[in-house]
Symmetry: D2
Subunit: 449 residues, 4 copies
């Protein structure tokens, strides 16, 4: 019923352990006043359906639920002695600076922590061989940063030696490390937490998931996603103007989405000018009865223009397997460029059919990811950061802050990174996309993927 998560089996969930690790027993009183504290047993049920939960309970099984996020009555870290560090890794994403600002403000004003450091250029800033010094952070420094995209700390991709990082944290006397990044980053954070534990170092490692593709597990949305969708809308309108501006004009926009087509799907919904939305979760062919190209030809014959949105990870089946797999510095499998392939194939096909056409290809990825967060996204970043600080001060570790059905949660890092969330082609989201694009008008076989 919660359509975006159909691919996780409830039976499997019953056996997962959602409890959170700690670096030690929290014994200090929280300085927060007039606040409703959250007890450690408070939980956010995984499944919204009452019947399923009641049945599980009745049969003595565990009802899957996340630990509820929020301020704890008892803290582990003593603000006076606490030294917190913040690191941003991987690709840019709207809201990075909002998260940094809110972490600093919450540490400083709410918990009175005044030793806060920004690690430069991702994990590489924790490897002393790179010669990058931590930056001192305080509310004055971060005051206006949320109006700018990007990350004031800088970012980087790629693996750094875990032991080296841990040695650096130890040498810098860091008690809390906030890791803002995607699944690669959080897997790295998990390794750091494990290594810290091995050495008995009571350092809280708290992850704030950042994935503009919105594809992390056990969370409904991640920051930056809504902004990216919003920024895509006028660009799709431009592609539509270009398409309508010429006889048989085709506007082709490549959007982010390595393994999941969330941005492509939402952007298509937000902008009803899209005629074909192509995502990794739904395979398609170019030629033949069910091919995209003949469908495009039919569309052009009917309407003289077409707008196509393609997620970067779509149509990987269309590339000849040359045995090579390329990965980026973060270890992400590098996809063949479906945008260029489609652009070329459409041009060849139209020429072969002697159709006078006009092809316009737009790749706005960097524009979407380096823009500042919009209003609601900015608030979402604020809340994520507040909950991250609550978790940190209470001594939790190896945990990411997440959002489940409107509630903030804490999820063990290893669970959050175990797989990637995908669109269910039979679920509500994709059905809405099909209704909105009506791509099956010209591509009737599309439904049967």
């Amino acid at each position: 019923m919660h359509p975006q998560n159909m691919n996780i089996n409830i039976e499997e969930l019953v056996n997962l352990d959602f409890s959170i690790s700690r670096v030690g027993v929290p014994t200090l009183d929280s300085p927060l006043k007039d606040v409703i504290f959250v007890g450690d047993s408070e939980s956010i049920t995984y499944c919204a359906d009452r019947n399923i939960n009641n049945e599980l309970y009745a049969s003595g099984k565990n009802v899957p639920a996340f630990v509820a996020a929020g301020p704890r009555k008892k803290l582990y870290h003593d603000a006076t002695w606490t030294r917190a560090a913040i690191v941003t890794c991987g690709g840019l994403c709207p809201g990075l600076n909002d998260v940094i600002k809110a972490l600093v403000n919450t540490l400083y004003y709410t918990y009175k922590v005044d030793n806060i450091f920004g690690i430069q250029y991702g994990y590489s800033g924790l490897n002393p061989s790179n010669g990058l010094k931590p930056i001192v952070l305080n509310p004055d420094i971060v005051d206006g940063i949320h109006t700018t995209g990007g990350s004031i700390l800088g970012s980087s991709r790629g693996h750094q030696d875990t032991e080296e990082i841990v040695r650096t944290l130890d040498r810098l006397n860091i008690n809390i490390l906030f890791t803002i990044g995607g699944d690669g980053t959080q897997r790295g954070a998990h390794d750091i937490a494990v290594e810290l534990k091995k050495r008995n170092l009571p350092v809280s490692v708290i992850g704030i998931p950042k994935t503009i593709d919105n594809d992390l597990c056990f969370m409904d949305k991640t920051f930056g996603f809504e902004t990216a969708v919003q920024v895509a809308a006028p660009i799709i309108s431009c592609a539509h103007n270009e398409a309508k501006g010429y006889l048989n004009g085709v506007g082709l926009i490549k959007l982010m989405g390595r393994d999941s087509g969330f941005i492509a799907a939402y952007a298509s919904l937000a902008n009803s000018l899209v005629n074909f939305c192509l995502i990794p979760e739904v395979q398609f062919e170019l030629y033949g009865e069910n091919g995209l190209l003949p469908a495009l030809e039919r569309r052009l014959a009917r309407k003289q223009h077409a707008v196509i949105v393609v997620a970067e990870g779509a149509g990987q089946n269309l590339f000849q397997d040359d045995g090579e797999v390329t990965v980026d510095k973060s270890g992400n499998k590098l996809h063949k460029d479906i945008g260029i392939l489609l652009k070329d194939e459409i041009s060849l096909y139209m020429k072969s059919r002697n159709i006078d056409f006009s092809m316009k290809y737009i790749d706005p990825s960097y524009i979407l990811r380096s823009t500042p967060a919009n209003g609601m996204d900015s608030i979402f970043c604020l809340h994520l950061a507040q909950h991250a600080v609550h978790a940190a001060m209470a001594g939790m570790t190896d945990v990411v802050v997440a959002n489940w059905q409107g509630n903030f949660t804490y999820v063990p890092t290893s669970l959050a990174t175990r797989s990637r969330r995908k669109i269910d082609p039979r679920g509500q989201l994709w059905q809405s996309v099909l209704l909105s694009t009506r791509q099956n008008t010209d591509w009737p076989s599309k439904a049967a993927e």
Copy 2:
């Protein structure tokens, strides 16, 4: 734990009946294919906390839950004979045209209903004495309307005779009526549904709640709210520029929020330039030890400028009770104008203290409510409309479409309008506002409201 709804007692909820009325037994097969149908027993649990639900279940009590929204396998209304009407009532709100467009498209393309009418200027368009004719709607007509704010159907405030409306529906052979409006509108819709039932007329009355104040019961958010918050942000920046531009500059912005301060609170969070956020839920005084004016004076002495956001319903205690209560055409109690009062009182106070100051007052209400919906809000409108049509075709009635913790639900109209949602001053939202504005720096007594 779900901070925005603390004011509803769980014990009371156990006894509420969330089941949905129908105009008849659905017996026709849905034309939808490759879709996951939602069963009538599927539900969305009210309370996210596992323990509370388990306890209720264990003690044999009802676990409160809403009926899950979504397409039903069996329909009541036959598309061929169905005549649907759409009416928009009350104040403008971003997304009205998105909802209208999505209703028309879903009726037309998904269910093949092609008799769709738009009622002009709210309920007054259903009173024949006003001489307003229904407009024929179809996908071509609504194609581009989502790029414009307002409502293509027009709206109106005020009560119309229920029996007259029912006679009109009967005469026009309307089987489905979609009512887009706030609590006044939905109470009217409930009356219509009751009257229809009395006359044994199988007309489905489906409400889509519209309240830019975001204050309806049993739903997390309503359409238009997020857009309003986003539009407020640059205007608050303008007020900040005006405030900083002059010695002891005060920028005062009045935002919507009759009984609940959600827009004021979210806008303050989205724009960290706000120094005082005043909402109806938190009473305050102007003068004396705990007064706003001395606090403002302290702030100006410290920083030489201040930005104040005030919800229109805040500070009603500051008006002398002259025994009169004024209501608008919809029966909403008309508030005294707190914006003007504050503007005047601040000026008087500063003059009396011989402080050189500059007061700038901005009331952007009409700008916020008549703007087009942004990307995510637009998608939200689409989903609300789709679920409204699913409910209608399945023969439900006297129901509104709502959203609970990320899931779409159907809520009996009488329950949705029974009271207004408010901000809990001890909950997370307000705590975030206090953290962000740090208004208690200069106004220490504020916390103890």
Copy 3:
């Protein structure tokens, strides 16, 4: 032919002296390289018409022309010893920070002046009794300020004692004073220049005209104007949505324009949704045959909605003369509020005619003036500031930088402030407005003002 300046008589111009005063003879070599220097005899012809100029020349008369702006080969001020000050006065205007930034950068990088001061809160910062200290400015400090509206220096209205200001400049060893402000400010700057000359103090006083109303003499446009017009457009759309959203809806927007209706006129042209544009230059009546109210009634009868844009200085004849004239701190005559008057009068009239209507009044003035400058405006600010610095370093004084028919000029301050530029009702601009609004459709007598 140059329609906006028809109100200046060419015969009168022949006798005006457009030459620029200097504080001394420029003898130092300019450090600029690879640049085309501008000679002092280079001029920008006032009148674009060849025949008029030829005739004047043939008859031995002076052909009116401005001194051309641009870098001079010889400088008066020695960069090493130069101390420059910048002051912003009067109301906010988009681009203030752009001008400040470009002044600082041009002084610093182009001419190597590194003693630059910002005067706080307008001329009041030059009166030591106010206790305001100058701020040190350099390229780092001003680096990002252009992304924010307002003025980082702050502004103020009101007269300060000229001798006091001159004493302060002398005590601070200021050689160059840049005054950014409207006609009041520049009249003050002229007084300062006169007083400095009287005391034989070689201080260059260079004005950069700031008037969002775009009403200064001998210049085609001033910075901030184009941004204000652009920002008004979506707000007018909102008013249109409100107007169309209700039966007989009237959207009324008050825009700036004390004596000249340029913003109202341009905003009406930029947004073709305006039905009535009211400006100070064209008198009108409310009632009777030629009255606005009956015209509005006709419009509503025909179209059921109307959008009215009114400049703040329009319709002053409609107020009963109570003998009082009120002025603001800057000595500007305070207008009675035509926005409120129209709102009230329209409501009364419609009620008296038993017309069901909906009145929405928007006053976005502070939003227009405190917004950051848009792209082209920002470039315009940059060029104004560069030319201001060129003039200053060459030892000019008592001069403002202006723009005439696409060329930058230097105009004696006393000439620039001698009167206010107005719209010619028979000229091209107003004719375009009439074409665009077609307000004479319902208001036929309008043309004959």
Copy 4:
């Protein structure tokens, strides 16, 4: 002194004939009232400098001047019998729909012409073999089109047979043809006018120059340019965020500008984040002492990030001449892709120097050109269209509407298309760019091109 036009020699201008052709003697009275008519002898002086003009006049030479645009007292075409056609050709440009709308409204409301046709897809719509029918246009149809980018008529590139076009115009009884397009389009329009004259067909051919590169002769600016500059600004900010987001990050943006770097130059001025601006008018090398790549390396060593804006026509000397010259359908020489070349060369260079870097390449061309016009651009389109209609009704032909130093002019089509306007590297514009980017800090030899 007018720096952007230094490349036109005043001596040469003296001998040019700026007079306008007509299809016949205008004898009908204009229906315009209360308007200041423009006489045919009224002119707009080419050179703003008084001395130059006086000298020319004194020595008996012609003072170069354009015919002033504006409404004429006497018309040639009779509104009742007039059939006007509008065609848009070449690449999209912000404001196309504004021009179309204003042409239709001015013809219809001002001159009462009600037979107006839109030619589909450029000149190809005038070749009957393409089977494209003209669209009927009227004020209702064009009412809202200005809110959308692109052209409602569609466009096309490429030559069509002139005689075929003339036969079509004759067969359709067209008396006035408005051609909206760049220099290829206007050269085609000139050929059409010549052919019409040869056949004694009194058809007015009026051009409205459209070149987003802003590179047409004898005009200061063309519509769409300012919007393109404005739209580029946030995209450059994104590139800056990407550049700062990674160690040695390089943000590279390719902007339009085939032969002239106006967009690149203005966008660099409007957004002070650009460090290197590369235009066709200033040659550069990649390697060696004066090379861009070593300069970039120096910049990165100093600041760890860099933003480069490159016009598409820049650096053509860097491509090995392979003897081939490729042209597009319009006959424009197709440039090698300098964006891709730079991206590849920078990457190779940095790798060869073992520098850890991050390269982000953005090509936003289609976004800039297909966006709707902003406020001032929209007004500019309106005025251009009004003047085009004035010219047409007065029976002028073989003419384009232009803008010279703030005044509207009529320029013979053959003169407007004789060469392309370029940036003078010693002029004010480029000097401002150098000041703003300070690219000579790391690239000292740059100034000496």
